[in-house]
Symmetry: C2
Subunit: 662 residues, 2 copies
């Protein structure tokens, strides 16, 4: 398409021709830019493809020292090196500097280019210090700019499916059984970790200032912000290995539950810290009022997001079972709209999506047709997989392509130490406190494993890259990258060694592990009574109203509420009354598989130790009688469910299991 | 967060504080804009949710007069009306007019706003005529601008899954059986339709110019472009009803195949027409050289996209079967990278994706594990569903929210007539010509039905909205919208009436309809010999190399190629040798279900007419002997496959079927 650029503007005659020509030029330019964008995106797709193929090889050969996310990072690093040092694309010179005499930065700029109007949208603030702009506009590698994504992409596109998937796959009885401990680690632990790391980093920064290593401002709120972002653990590598090796389900539940929830805590915490803004000009000083406001914000955002997520998650599909496609589509859209709704309301979408996922797994899932259950699971599994690997490969890439890295050895050393100490301050004291209340203690090898499994991943990265405008944030971002790399590669890679070193049982079939529980109820009074009340309420009232499973309300409500109960209970619930155990099998265990117990407990250094433990628990059923009076109707099934959620004692101490050291 | 805007710039002391404050202001602004974006997107999600719920109601009640896409359009229209007339958001005044003394429009603009640098990216060209800009910058409804998507979104995000899904679900033996006719309709027919419509529109435009109705330039190339975009048929509504009512599979295959392929033809045709650019300043005049170049481009782009699509589609996964997630992810990424690769190479991604889908359905699908087959099907089904309904609801919305509509009654009437005539000129003459060569004639009621089912949909819309810069394009876009609305609502809604009016059989089980075919081979010599050769080659050589199904190459290749054959054949192919019929069941029919034939042919006005037809076909098997010499080994199965792809004579004429009128 040879097309001369119009230079002569004979407005009267060739006006239309001219404008047509100009249109073509614009079109060509747009096409060129589109082709370039496609090529850039293709790099990432091929990177992911390569990762998948290599993962397959690793899985096939049963290599466990490197997880797919670690691998994605390595490939990302390699491509980053190539882009940085290999390809030298000349800057195309299309960037033009304009001087504008407005006070605020407008969202949209209309540029009058020789009679034609172009609309420009704000992409980013380059830098607050003027000298950096030269750096940008001179011979910088254009390619690097091309492969840099808008940081908000991570938060608004890639994180939601990951977090939702985590919530949606949380439906495990081991999670509910350890709920108290998980909540403690996730809430208390994350806050503790955040403040410990923040304080330690403030010490480091102050030291750096004294030594003259600090080349910019670094406020205490920045330190706290750093503490918040690196407190979000993401042991995806460890959990994958746990799953593969069938590590003890309680440990799995503790780690998984903690990591899922502390993401939510960390993101709200970090936004509260950013919002901590003392009034007046002297910002960054301590002020009680602002702290209180921040704390209020934390509570507000968290509970708002929580309520929103739960509310939309609770939406029930009663009659769409016949059209699986519609059902799946609706499910997907509801999850997405939860995110958008929360963001539009000023809450945190990620948190809302998490609780939406948990609620949907608990209630909505039961209403879906069998096919839609599979479909939704597989869909979010795929989205999670793609998003996760994309984030990790981008992490690798960005180590070389990010332009404003600030690597400060002192800060890095301090950060590593702080992260380590912060994790320790989270796990050990909390475990000690929890063990005071728990019948089924969190053993020290579990604690060490949890300490070791404090990997940092996608959430930390997304929070760190979200804002890299100031010197402090840039230094944080660079350091965070290193922390992620180290923990994913070293801690993730050493998981199997750590497991065998800590003598943690592997090969435990989590589905049948606790089949003996219904037999024992002596521990009932020691269990979390709050949780028990919630569970009864949920099982007897919420489940029947919100799902087709559970006992009909006519059975659980007092007789006086008969008509109301009949209205609220779905017709299927009556039909399902018989098969109740199957529908709720996540919480209710069958007790006819006791005999298989010995076969399935495979020990690392000796099997069959636990064959006798089943009999050891077969004590009195007295306290069930009490509960039987509380609820009426078919509470036989209900009670069995209630029993199960109590902490289980693996009774190693009694049996003097040789490989459990306290 | 009360935060005073910094007005005093005391650079030395409060520099950092000031910049921190500014950062906060920028952050707040970005947050505000992000919340607004979330709210806007939420409108669409809720629109889709509403559509799904209503569709469910319709499906539940078995309403067939309105398809989900038609419904999506109606809801879109309603929301459009509300946004246009209901909500009056004041313009936020953040848009600033800058005058810039550069010649070309830069892709990036750096704006120096009182010492800070902001990067802006080019969003769009507002208008070539200066007076339009006032229109934009004055009190226009800000909301309308917010809900306007970048037109490229349709082409690069929403269309690919739709088109891929169409290709991926093309794997039907009825498609292969009617391949010749489908290709004729899609290629020849679309080109004929494009030129007929283009010429008619040129006539209309010339007339309009004489009457003084034309208020801008409208060139012949614009007319041709219009012809190309409205030649892409999208009978999604009709096909959904066909599928539901189980209309005769040959008609289904003809319509579906045509609509899938003519999308590809239309998109390449339109880009060739845009590229038609005579040299020199006098554009828009006829020039042989430019035409030839355009034609060459058409061939080049089409064959390039085709080759690319087939090449990436052919990629085989040989050993990933054990890891379904990896398999599905890889499948998804390969399809996407086909699109990106084609776009990066300057080909047409949509076309590449279409042929990638067809190839993957034909080869790759056989290599997938059973679970991945389901997963990939369901995934693309869901994506297709969401994308399609989104496009159609956006279509409804844009009728009211698009700002530069040009509704010209004369042009609209002319366009409707031209579309009608163009479709007729496609179907009837081509059917006549095809019937000369076809043993199994395309009956006149089929022809009328195909004529009637020439709906316009997603592709037409995406092509029309892609460029609405000039007056001609704006008029085209507005008219196209009306054509889509009319055809989807009126033609789509009248499908059942038309079916019964044309006395087309419904309730035909397409899987078992042709079970009698293996018995007959008298029509063999009348069939497409080219296709037969291809089929044999494909079945004997390509399938064994590329998939695990098909006969081992050791059986199909001459003995001298033994070692090579052993290398190229996958181990599974040897194992699968026995169950070959199942793997390739789309093309190979079992002949032991003849007796069931009478039960499954449900007629509109009388059943069981065809029970005797099976016996009628049981003629000689002579020509199979010939083929048996061509291939060696287990060609018993191969031959049965070959037989089947021949045109089938439903033999209504012989049987004097009372409801088939010629």
């Amino acid at each position: 398409m040879p097309c001369a650029f119009p230079t002569v503007h004979e407005r009267h005659v060739t006006d239309f021709l001219d404008s047509a020509m100009e249109n073509i030029v614009t079109e060509k330019k747009a096409e060129e830019s589109h082709r370039q964008d496609s090529a850039d995106l293709l790099i990432f797709i091929l990177l992911l493809t390569l990762t998948i193929l290599t993962i397959w090889l690793f899985k096939h050969r049963r290599f466990r020292f490197l997880h797919e996310t670690g691998l994605a990072m390595i490939y990302g690093l390699l491509v980053g090196v190539v882009l940085r040092y290999g390809i030298h694309m000349p800057r195309d010179g299309t960037s033009v500097m304009l001087n504008c005499h407005v006070n605020a930065s407008p969202a949209t700029v209309l540029v009058n280019v020789s009679g034609k109007f172009y609309e420009y949208t704000l992409k980013r603030v380059l830098s607050s210090s003027g000298n950096k702009v030269d750096d940008v506009s001179d011979n910088e590698n254009e390619m690097l700019r091309k492969v840099t994504f808008d940081p908000e992409v991570f938060f608004n596109i890639l994180l939601p499916p990951i977090i939702f998937h985590a919530g949606y796959s949380l439906k495990r009885r081991h999670f509910f059984r350890n709920m108290g401990s998980i909540l403690a680690y996730a809430f208390l632990g994350t806050v503790v970790s955040c403040f410990i790391i923040g304080l330690l980093m403030y010490g480091t920064v102050t030291l750096m200032k004294h030594v003259g290593q600090l080349h910019g401002e670094f406020f205490f709120t920045d330190c706290l912000f750093f503490g918040a972002i690196v407190s979000a653990t993401d042991p995806v590598t460890v959990l994958a290995i746990f799953h593969e090796l069938q590590v003890e389900p309680d440990l799995y539940a503790l780690l998984f539950g903690e990591s899922v929830l502390n993401d939510a805590v960390a993101v709200v915490l970090s936004s509260s810290i950013v919002a901590y803004q003392p009034t007046g000009d002297n910002s960054h000083t301590f002020e009680g009022m602002a702290l209180l406001k921040s704390f209020g914000m934390f509570l507000g955002i968290f509970s708002g997001s929580f309520a929103l997520g739960v509310a939309t998650g609770i939406v029930t599909f009663t009659k769409l079972r016949d059209f699986q496609l519609l059902e799946t589509a609706l499910f997907f859209l509801m999850s997405w709209s939860t995110f958008l709704l929360a963001e539009a309301c000023g809450f945190t979408g990620v948190v809302a999506v998490l609780f939406c996922g948990i609620t949907q797994a608990h209630y909505t899932y039961n209403n879906l047709s069998r096919e839609s259950q599979d479909r939704t699971k597989q869909l979010f599994e795929l989205l999670n997989f793609l998003a996760e690997n994309f984030i990790f490969s981008y992490m690798g890439l960005t180590l070389f392509t990010f332009r404003n890295h600030v690597f400060n050895p002192m800060f890095i050393v301090g950060a590593f130490l702080a992260v380590f100490i912060g994790r320790a301050a989270n796990i050990y004291p909390l475990s000690f406190l929890l063990n005071l209340g728990r019948r089924h203690k969190i053993r020290s090898n579990f604690q060490h494993m949890m300490m070791f499994a404090g990997l940092r991943g996608a959430m930390t990265f997304a929070l760190a890259i979200r804002d890299t405008a100031t010197y402090a944030r840039q230094m944080m971002f660079s350091t965070t990258l290193l922390i992620v790399f180290f923990t994913v590669w070293i801690c993730g890679g050493g998981t199997t060694q750590m497991l065998s070193c800590q003598r943690i049982r592997v090969g435990v079939d989590s589905d049948q592990d606790n089949s003996v529980i219904p037999e024992r109820s002596s521990t009932k009074h020691e269990s979390a009574w709050l949780f028990r009340i919630w569970y009864n309420f949920d099982h007897n009232y919420l489940k029947p109203i919100l799902t087709h499973s559970g006992p009909p309300l006519t059975a659980t409500l007092p007789p006086c509420c008969g008509p109301l109960a009949r209205i609220l209970t779905s017709p299927q619930a009556f039909e399902n009354e018989g098969q109740l155990k199957d529908d709720d099998s996540d919480l209710i265990l069958t007790d006819d598989i006791n005999l298989a117990y010995g076969d399935i407990t495979v020990n690392t250094d000796g099997s069959g130790v636990h064959t006798s433990s089943g009999a050891g628990f077969a004590s009195g059923m007295s306290s069930e009688d009490l509960d039987r009076e509380l609820t009426c109707g078919d509470n036989e099934v209900v009670m069995r469910g209630t029993c199960l959620v109590f902490p289980m004692d693996d009774s190693e101490p009694t049996l003097k299991d040789p490989h459990m050291r306290f």
